[in-house]
């Protein structure tokens, strides 16, 4: 049985919950008590030295990092539609995994940390950084239904939760109608699951 070390309000965990659900893969959730810093406990650091959720344990295979877990699930339980192997296609998907790990993480993600969890972060700088990020996505999605390849890939799943949760960081998505339409499209995928705030 797959175990997902999880927290309901984590968008990074939601990427994995959503992917598992879209793939129809059964799993068990293990809730990590992050408010009491269980993710920094010696026991958890053995699973992930970075002290972050999600972590996926598939029998004795332990994978950390939401982007890496998406790659694992696509390769192990999905078709090549989710993560194509053709060099150009794989690289195009990879661009958005880095975009999720870097640009999204340093903008909308941080603004939400302040307003949703009252964390001590520079939410104003994060909100300012969010604008060009959302503009880039909006323009990119102007003539596309999905981020790459005209069908859903793990690129869409990696970028979706924190973009969808942007309003929780007091970032209005209304100026980005193509982003809103893309969010809608994702919520209509067979097997879609929601999380609080989306």
């Amino acid at each position: 049985m797959i175990r997902l070390y999880d927290r309901e309000l984590s968008g990074n965990c939601h990427k994995i919950r959503l992917m598992l659900s879209l793939l129809g893969v059964e799993y068990e959730k293990v809730t990590v008590d992050t408010p009491n810093r269980e993710h920094k406990s010696p026991q958890f650091l053995k699973l992930n030295p970075l002290g972050q959720i999600p972590v996926l344990a598939d029998e004795d295979i332990v994978i950390r990092d939401s982007q890496a877990i998406l790659v694992y699930l696509a390769r192990k339980y999905g078709t090549e539609e989710w993560l194509p192997l053709y060099p150009e296609s794989m690289a195009k998907v990879m661009q958005w995994l880095s975009f999720a790990a870097n640009e999204i993480n340093n903008s909308v993600f941080i603004a939400r940390l302040y307003f949703r969890f009252q964390m001590d972060v520079d939410w104003q700088a994060a909100q300012i950084r969010s604008k060009p990020i959302l503009n880039i996505m909006n323009e990119h999605l102007q003539n596309r239904n999905w981020l790459e390849l005209e069908h859903p890939t793990i690129a869409d799943i990696a970028c979706f939760p924190y973009i969808g949760l942007a309003p929780e960081g007091k970032i209005d998505l209304e100026p980005y109608p193509h982003v809103i339409a893309w969010i809608e499209r994702i919520t209509q995928l067979p097997g879609y699951v929601n999380m609080p705030g989306l």
Copy 2:
């Protein structure tokens, strides 16, 4: 002919120069005048809306983001040794691509921006964040020659430049002997090329 939009002092560009050299792939360098913000010019933003280097143009295929370019080069010009397709192995490599895009980028990379380029960043916070990052790498490399799979992969190439350049951000690598040994090992790969500061 492959064109690499490049800047000599960019560690992200060096990932690609190193990979191209290790693979023995010929290419042409196009130096982008980042001090005069050429990377934010309308012309360059057509290549990469994020306004970042490196960008790789292989005939009409244009890939941005150093991690995505490594994936492209490994799939197109390398063997599966550089980027294995087996789910667990690919995910393990992917963990380090995210580590490069996120943890390394938010620590040693930022400290160097201050000391090397006098950029207005919080170098003290970056130096503090560098310690656990380097500790994790050091412990991970204690019983390994390479980050994953007992041979060099794009995980090593993605993490190498900014870790090797850490002393330019006034971060001493001496407390991390296994990291130093790993750096040494990379510099001895056939086809290795250097950059200023490494």
